[in-house]
């Protein structure tokens, strides 16, 4: 069976269900798992929350339960997704993760393709990363959440540092707004948010403040967004 989850549930909750169902596999419902549209959320809506609902409905027969982040560490969308799925009969374990003790980070700041960095960080929600990676001088920055479409990440050099909520995930403090706001002012940074997400306000504000590039994307990344990022990386 599968145990679905979204966001960054507290580690003790993940561990409790792993012990209880040792042969179950954890599946991150935030990701694009190619589920067909369920039609349960509006068309103009955050693609990540849409993924959560669509994936859960698609995997319904295999899902034993879902562990869903509904606190400040996620968003209202997570809270509402939990309500919708509970209404549909899913067992949803609602979690809030107010952790404030920052664990050391190293994936965000190492020399590694950006998509691999973000994959490792999202994977660390279920299996803690114990490897320490060597720090590299940043040439560029990527601020934001793991995007729906990873093609965007292929444009960045491997010396790109990761900031924003994704860094909070590696540090195991997903509700730590002050860490989310931290960037290196001298590093040319792309500030990314998923369309229709409240984090767009932060991304735009920080991009203005640090002379970065603000972008948002809905589903698949568009040519104009790819061109903006490519030009920014080449010319800055």
């Amino acid at each position: 069976m599968l145990i679905g989850y979204w966001g960054v549930p507290p580690r003790h909750v993940i561990d409790r269900y792993r012990r209880k169902h040792p042969f179950d596999e954890f599946v991150d419902l935030d990701l694009d798992l190619s589920a067909p549209p369920s039609g349960l959320v509006p068309d103009a809506f955050c693609q990540i929350i849409t993924n959560i609902v669509d994936n859960a409905v698609h995997l319904r027969d295999d899902l034993r339960l879902i562990i869903g982040a509904v606190g400040e560490d996620k968003c209202d969308g997570g809270r509402f997704a939990a309500l919708i799925l509970e209404d549909l009969g899913f067992e949803v374990i609602e979690t809030r993760n107010p952790a404030t003790e920052r664990k050391p980070i190293s994936i965000c700041t190492t020399d590694m393709p950006l998509a691999e960095k973000i994959n490792r960080i999202t994977h660390s929600v279920v299996v803690r990363n114990r490897k320490r990676f060597k720090w590299v001088e940043p040439t560029h920055g990527f601020w934001g959440v793991p995007p729906h479409d990873f093609e965007l990440l292929s444009l960045f050099p491997s010396t790109t540092h990761v900031y924003g909520w994704t860094r909070c995930v590696e540090a195991e403090v997903p509700a730590d707004l002050s860490l989310e706001l931290e960037v290196d002012a001298h590093v040319p940074t792309v500030f990314y948010a998923q369309s229709f997400c409240a984090k767009n306000a932060l991304a735009k504000h920080l991009a203005e403040k640090y002379h970065g590039l603000y972008i948002d994307c809905d589903g698949p990344v568009t040519n104009s967004v790819l061109a903006k990022v490519a030009a920014f990386i080449k010319l800055r």
Binding site: H211, T222, A231, F232, K234
Partner: protein
Amino acid sequence: MPMPTIIADCGSSWSKIRNLDVNEVLIVPTRQVLADESIRFDVATGHLARSRTDRYENELVALAQGSLKLVQEDDFTVVDIGSRDTKFVRFTNRKLDKLDWNQACGATTGFTLELLGKYYDVDYGKLPVSDQRLPVTCGVFAIERIFDSIIQGDSAQEALAAFVHGVAFNVHTFAQKPDRLYVSGGLCANRCFLDSLWKYCEVIPLGREVLLEGLY
């Protein structure tokens, strides 16, 4: 890298093709380029040229590089208005400071201008600037507003001039409201547009070949 011979900027409506050997520029409808699969370029920009060129350059990079060749100031902003979209680059101390590419909101305004100009047989070179400004969200909404305006008794000329004013206002806002704005693209030949833009800033047209300049 060897010097290219044939370079092109293939926009959604028009393709600008330069032969560097004789330094001639040909401007043809892009549909003609698409129809003739034998046409190839050494270096090109524009999504439609991607499969027709040995080396492809991103349009924003071409705009930025071309702007740096054509403008000698330290701090300046260039906006390129195409048929389908609008792009801008801003330099501070001749280093790229800000860029954007507006493809969704504000889309197809250039194309709409050309389409309606032909439909109503309006010469933008002679069209007086309007003090009225139609709100222009995108080409489709603009057409609706223009038709509404004509139904309410405005002439096609008045409605189009107000639309042009709306486009100029949006372009200035999109380019972050500079005091001086360099303009690239086909609208450099649209006097009504340039004069409307003058209501908001100093305007310096650069012509249609800025992206070509950025390719070599």
